[in-house]
């Protein structure tokens, strides 16, 4: 039976506000286990939204269950780095222990085991989520123990604490990870930098205008950001100064306010630096957001935290509470009357596309994370149509240091076009996986040497949507003008098969496409199917041409960056590691994807036969080679 009183409590906590639907659904599911049809109807009525809109949103996010799930829900992170650490065998072993088929809830409703997109633990995999709690460093022994705990229905709260331990693995530090940041120091520096100009606006609508320094303080802050030449750390490298200034200058209608959003939906496979920043450097990030609010005149902030990092929610709430108590957030920041800004944490629910800023805003508004048609851009029409800046976690951390030390200090680090430092999330075939901070301009070769990589075949930079570099490109530099990156740095040695890497990424994109536009919705699945066809030794040069054709279509016609970049890993590996594909090709002519023997598998299962006579053997690769 549905427990309506518990739903009521969640609804009341969110003022029955439909724009908070994603948070409402998550909190109700945490209490009731899943979102039944009756639950969804009750929530729809509670927030006054059409029921189809509520069920449509619930169905969008991977972490929401609209069918009863097992008491234990195990999701193995399935990034290529988890694969390289043996997650496939471990998951098979777990399924065997529990007498389960992947993706199916056990007959007794106890447990389900499946895969999920990268959970951001690539430096300490194989990783998994159990009831959306992150577990790292899985081994065969842990699989055995975990299966036993599940079978005997031991509550997760009583499981060994060390399974849930997440390491920072900070290996190289520069300015951001130096760890000597005093909370409040950047805000004070920003505030003191402006000369007192005697202006005090009579119109106290915003943080900026209500400060005694009037407009001078925020202007001075924006000037420092300009001098710093800070560019967005999410990968695109847009000028932070332009974004902030556009938001500051956007007209406000009555009852509107400016919004600062920190994008911590770190979904790009192979990226985990934001997790470390939010674990051990949260003050730096929140201070950067507050500095941004000061500069653009915002009064409301959101941290959009990916659902995989659910375990960070309580510690981050504690940091926010401490900052409020210290007068660094809230109604009169730094004891300045009227200087108000506060930050609220929203959790995602398993949707990579929400890392796209307008999809993220849709999600903040309680809707499926579907990228918007642009223009208009978020800086003028963002969260609930209000001027909004969305920046990466690392961008805010950098902005705090710009406020503290000044733009010139910051601009002296890195290269001319790429100032400051970049945090890399290093994983894969290296001796020391973890977090490495470098001034911009460092060569790929240097990073490889520092992390103890040997016999390196390729590096996938900035995740599947980024670039795959081969050995002859290792002298290229991490910088916006050469190899831009959001931070992922996945290393593959000569024992690895780059076709399998690209195939893993093609499955990722097919799973994560939001489905809005045709080229991405269908194209990502077509690419995945062709990659599987080649893997199953049914491929031919025809299929290679098809991949190129789909790449050309999706790159130009897709609605957002996901579809536009989804073929990058296939395109790069086809160009740089063509033999990995060609050795798999069945023939030089067309080959159908249809596998006659596989088509008989259902009949074999039904009849319980598996003898030679139940197989169609005329089309085995061996015979074709003969």
């Amino acid at each position: 039976m549905t427990d309506f009183s518990r739903i009521d409590a969640v609804l009341a906590h969110h003022d029955r506000n439909g724009t908070r639907l994603v948070q409402i659904l998550r909190e109700v599911q945490e209490q009731l286990g899943w979102l039944s049809p009756a639950t969804l109807s009750y929530i729809a009525e509670g927030v006054g939204w059409p029921r189809a809109q509520v069920s449509g949103t619930a169905a969008f996010y991977s972490f929401f269950h609209t069918r009863q799930r097992g008491k234990y829900c195990v999701l193995w992170s399935d990034n290529i780095t988890d694969r390289m650490l043996g997650n496939t065998d471990l998951m098979d072993a777990m399924c065997k222990k529990l007498w389960l088929e992947p993706g199916r809830v056990s007959e007794d409703g106890l447990v389900s085991v499946n895969t999920t997109s990268c959970t951001g633990m690539c430096d300490q995999g194989p990783a998994l989520l159990v009831n959306y709690r992150a577990v790292t460093g899985m081994t065969l022994q842990r699989v055995d123990e975990m299966a036993e705990l599940i079978r005997t229905e031991v509550p997760i709260a009583e499981w060994p604490a060390e399974w849930f331990a997440v390491q920072d693995n900070v290996r190289r530090t520069e300015i951001l990870l130096a760890g000597n940041f005093a909370p409040g120091s950047a805000l004070r520096a920003a505030h003191e930098r402006a000369e007192v100009d005697g202006l005090s606006s009579s119109n106290n609508r915003s943080f900026r205008e209500s400060l005694p320094h009037g407009i001078a303080g925020p202007m001075a802050m924006l000037d420092e950001i300009q001098r710093s030449k800070l560019r967005g750390r999410g990968g695109a490298g847009f000028s932070t100064r332009f974004k902030w200034e556009a938001c500051r200058n956007a007209p406000l209608r009555a009852d509107q306010e400016r919004i600062v959003v920190c994008n911590a939906d770190e979904g790009e496979p192979g990226t985990f630096k934001d997790r470390v920043l939010l674990t051990s450097y949260a003050d730096l990030v929140f201070e950067g957001m507050t500095v941004a609010a000061y500069a653009v005149g915002a009064t409301r902030g959101f941290l959009y935290l990916r659902g995989e990092y659910r375990y960070l929610l309580e510690p981050l709430e504690a940091v926010l509470a401490r900052r409020r108590a210290a007068g660094l957030l809230g109604k009169s920041i730094l004891d300045i009357p009227g200087a108000r800004f506060d930050i609220e944490i929203h959790l995602g629910a398993g949707a990579y596309v929400c890392g796209e800023e307008s999809a993220l805003i849709e999600s903040l508004e309680g809707k499926p994370g579907r990228p918007r048609v642009r223009p208009p851009f978020p800086v003028t029409n963002g969260y609930l149509d209000q001027p909004t800046i969305v920046n990466n976690v690392e961008t805010f951390a950098s902005a705090a240091l710009v406020a503290l030390h000044g733009g010139d200090w910051f601009a002296a680090i890195g290269t001319k076009q790429s100032t400051g430092t970049k945090i890399l999330s290093v994983s894969g075939d290296v001796a020391r996986p973890g977090i490495y901070e470098y001034p911009y301009g460092v060569t790929v070769r240097q990073v490889l040497a520092d992390c103890g990589a040997t016999d390196t075949l390729a590096v996938q930079i900035s995740g599947p949507s980024g670039m795959c570099l081969a050995e002859d490109e290792f002298d290229r530099r991490i910088a916006f003008e050469d190899v831009p990156t959001a931070g992922a740095f996945m290393v593959f040695n000569t024992s690895r098969d780059m076709f399998e890497v690209a195939r893993n990424f093609s499955h990722f994109f097919a799973h994560e496409s939001c489905g809005f536009c045709t080229p991405c919705r269908v194209g990502t699945t077509l690419v995945r199917n062709i990659m599987d066809k080649i893997a199953n030794r049914h491929g031919s040069p025809y299929d290679i041409n098809e991949l190129f054709k789909l790449h050309r279509l999706m790159q130009g016609a897709s609605h957002c960056g996901l579809g536009n970049t989804a073929c990058n890993p296939v395109f790069d590996t086809l160009n740089k590691f063509r033999p990995a594909y060609e050795t798999r090709l069945m023939s030089l002519d067309y080959e159908p994807a249809f596998d006659l023997d596989a088509a008989l598998s259902e009949a074999r299962q039904m009849t319980g036969r598996d003898d030679a006579g139940a197989h169609f053997a005329a089309h085995s690769p061996d015979e074709a080679n003969a």
């Binding site: 069920s55 699945t525 279509l553």
Partner: protein, 237 residues
């Protein structure tokens, strides 16, 4: 109207009023830009990407891009029609489209656009998705096998009928589908009516009135008489 408010579409000068999108201006001028999810009555959805054009050398959706004076827009080039044909083939393999048995045949935008773009085969392997039919409503049949996710029924129900019977939800190829506003998920449990604007908006054969099969014979239907590129109009159909 300002004299300078024109742009070039395949070399032809098209006048526009500020605020119009490329496809709105072209349609007002009687020029066909292939499209599926766009409808002159409603705000652009921008999902089908069939209306993709090349503006000053860059791809863009003509239904969402504002017309600007002096822009050079490529529409019916071989390159663009090739891309459109591939997109149409994607539609044909992701759903279950069997024109010969479909009541909408001859009145269907998807079919007519495929003819216009000379699509002769679905090209890719069919996906054969499992999409249940909803025959619960006394007057209307919903056959989701033919859905192209244009969301026109969603918009029409919300904006014209004020009912919100439909919503586009879920994610990705398998998940994305029309959700119906009832706990059972059945149309019969909503206040949907045959007289709703949403009941007649579907460009393909998903939303069909019951007991009205083949009232107009094949051969005498809308696109049997004249191809879709010669039926450009801003008027409501």
């Amino acid at each position: 109207m300002n004299e300078t408010n024109t742009f070039l579409l395949d070399g032809e000068e098209i006048p526009f009023t500020p605020g119009q999108t490329i496809i709105q201006a072209a349609t007002a001028h009687g020029v066909y830009i292939p499209h599926l999810c766009w409808h002159p009555e409603f705000k652009a959805h921008g999902s089908c990407k069939i209306c993709t054009v090349k503006v000053n050398g860059r791809f863009g959706s003509s239904c969402t891009m504002a017309a600007q004076a002096g822009m050079n827009v490529e529409n019916r080039s071989t390159e663009l029609d090739d891309k459109r044909r591939t997109l149409l083939q994607m539609y044909f393999v992701e759903g279950n489209h069997f024109c010969p048995s479909c009541e909408k045949s001859g009145n269907c935008s998807l079919q007519a656009t495929a003819y216009e773009l000379k699509m002769v085969s679905p090209h890719f392997d069919m996906f054969y998705p499992d999409r249940p039919v909803d025959a619960s409503h006394p007057d209307i049949l919903l056959d989701f096998n033919r859905c192209i996710m244009c969301s026109l029924c969603v918009t029409a129900s919300r904006e014209v009928d004020g009912k919100n019977v439909f919503s586009m939800g879920g994610r990705g190829l398998l998940g994305r589908r029309i959700h119906i506003s009832s706990e059972s998920g059945k149309l019969a449990d909503t206040d949907f009516a045959l007289t709703d604007r949403a009941a007649s908006i579907c460009p393909v054969g998903v939303i069909l009135p019951k007991r009205k099969g083949f009232a107009v014979p094949i051969g005498e239907r809308k696109y049997d008489k004249l191809p879709i590129n010669l039926q450009v109009t801003e008027e409501t159909q």
